[in-house]
């Protein structure tokens, strides 16, 4: 399986990745490894030309962490308040690493990408979510205020044009465009869990929302992931305010 790259734990890490086991609301990440059905969408061109140039300084620290002939996993540091004021590019490289077979893998964050609904369904299958009608999935994405994605791009060592791009994470938010945003459907490919990617996904989504002046960001968390979101800055039942569901099916 092409995706079965071994990501070696780095010998020296700049930043400790948080231990995250993502069981997000309404969803149970199973440990089942579904046979990978990789739909490579190469229609956008050989390389991802839309990756914007990261800001100097902060990103230099990431690039400097990439050593030749070394499988170093670099996770960007938790964002500081200064960074929150910098406009977040719509798409950028979150992680870049060299795999055991010497191919380079990039994890790309994007908040403006059109998600292929088939890719999304494949990802939902991988984490074990019940199937939802594709037309409804497409409509939900269309009607979401922001859809943040993580894609893995494996650069081909050989000819140009053989990069493999795969959707490995997603989170979306609905909003009234003015005051409130609610985050739904947070998922990360089980093969990529435990690396801090879910955390990064939510952090970037939050930052993008805050930059659009949406002041109230909320979500509903399964009991198992309440702590995960607490560590990202979410507070359960603030001031005693309770989330309520109308005739829940549980």
């Amino acid at each position: 399986m092409p995706n079965n790259c071994t990501v070696l734990l780095p010998t020296s890490l700049k930043f400790c990745p948080p231990i995250v086991s993502l069981d997000c609301r309404c969803q149970v990440f199973s440990n089942l490894q579904f046979p990978l059905n990789l739909n490579f969408r190469l229609g956008r061109g050989s390389r991802n030309q839309r990756v914007s140039q990261p800001k100097a300084g902060f990103w230099d620290s990431i690039r400097s962490g990439i050593l030749k002939n070394n499988t170093t996993q670099v996770i960007e540091p938790p964002s500081t308040t200064e960074e929150e004021e910098e406009p977040l590019p719509e798409e950028f490289v979150l992680v870049e690493r060299t795999l055991a077979d010497d191919t380079v893998e990039q994890i790309i964050f994007s908040s403006g990408e059109n998600v292929d609904v088939y890719d999304l369904q494949a990802l939902c299958d991988k984490v074990g979510w019940p199937r939802r009608p594709l037309t409804k999935l497409a409509a939900a994405l269309r009607n979401s205020y922001m859809v943040a994605t993580l894609h893995s791009i494996k650069k081909s060592t050989g000819e140009v044009g053989n990069d493999q791009k795969k959707l490995i994470g997603m989170a979306r938010a609905t909003s009234d465009h003015a005051f409130n945003a609610t985050i739904w459907d947070v998922l990360v490919d089980p093969s990529y869990q435990g690396q801090g990617l879910g955390k990064a996904l939510i952090e970037k989504l939050i930052r993008a929302l805050l930059q659009r002046d949406i002041g109230n960001i909320s979500l509903f968390a399964d009991s198992k992931v309440v702590e995960f979101y607490q560590n990202l800055g979410f507070e359960p039942d603030p001031e005693g305010i309770k989330g309520m569901f109308w005739y829940p099916k549980y």
């Binding site: 607490q230 305010i241 005739y247």
Partner: protein, 196 residues
């Protein structure tokens, strides 16, 4: 398929008091009527449209003729912070469904609720308000019942909201459950960000 969803939802809806089985047939046909954006039959609600109308209240389902400044006054009267009316208007334009009650005598909004969401799976209800001078007569319930019905008609089955502790008792009889299965509502706070 949409039809099928709507029927199954209507049949399992325990919230809106369904009159004895005689009405079931008309309820089914009412579902079809509802698909054409007609208001649901009055028999389904605690207080019918006619009853409201006879007391001088009119139901509105769009922002047409809604004075946002007057609405803002109601928000402030119930304790919301005063928000920019331009932003309120923007929020209203990006809303899945909304409902407001107009008092004919003053031509002003006295009750309001709106819902946002993705239009297919999830919907969150915000800004449920009743002017303090008009509280206690069933307007809040009237607005909520109709809003929920409108959302169900769209096929949305996950309807949620955030409730202040003092009004949990208002939502519970309507069928809302707090923290079902341990699910917690969480809100992002810039002030508190714990880092491991």
């Amino acid at each position: 398929m949409l039809l099928h969803n709507q029927i199954s939802i209507a049949l399992r809806t325990p919230l809106i008091p369904i009159k004895p089985t005689l009405k079931h047939h008309s309820k089914n046909t009412a579902v079809f009527a509802q698909q054409r954006n007609a208001p649901p039959p009055a028999t389904n609600f605690s207080i019918s449209d006619e009853s409201l109308s006879s007391r001088g209240f009119t139901i509105h389902r769009t922002i047409d003729n809604l004075d946002v400044d007057h609405l803002n006054t109601v928000f402030v009267a119930v304790g919301f912070p005063r928000r920019d009316t331009g932003k309120i208007r923007l929020a209203l334009e990006h809303t899945d469904a909304l409902l407001w009650v107009e008092y004919e005598k003053t031509k002003r909004p006295v009750a309001f609720a709106r819902a946002t969401g993705d239009g297919v799976f999830n919907s969150i209800i915000w800004d449920v308000v009743v002017d303090p001078s008009f509280q206690g007569i069933g307007l809040g319930k009237a607005v909520m019942e109709r809003l929920i019905t409108a959302l169900l008609q769209k096929g949305i089955t996950n309807i949620v909201l955030y409730s202040e502790p003092r009004v949990l008792g208002f939502y519970r009889p309507m069928g809302f459950v707090a923290d079902p299965d341990g699910i917690r509502g969480m809100v992002y706070s810039r002030k508190q960000k714990k880092k491991k």
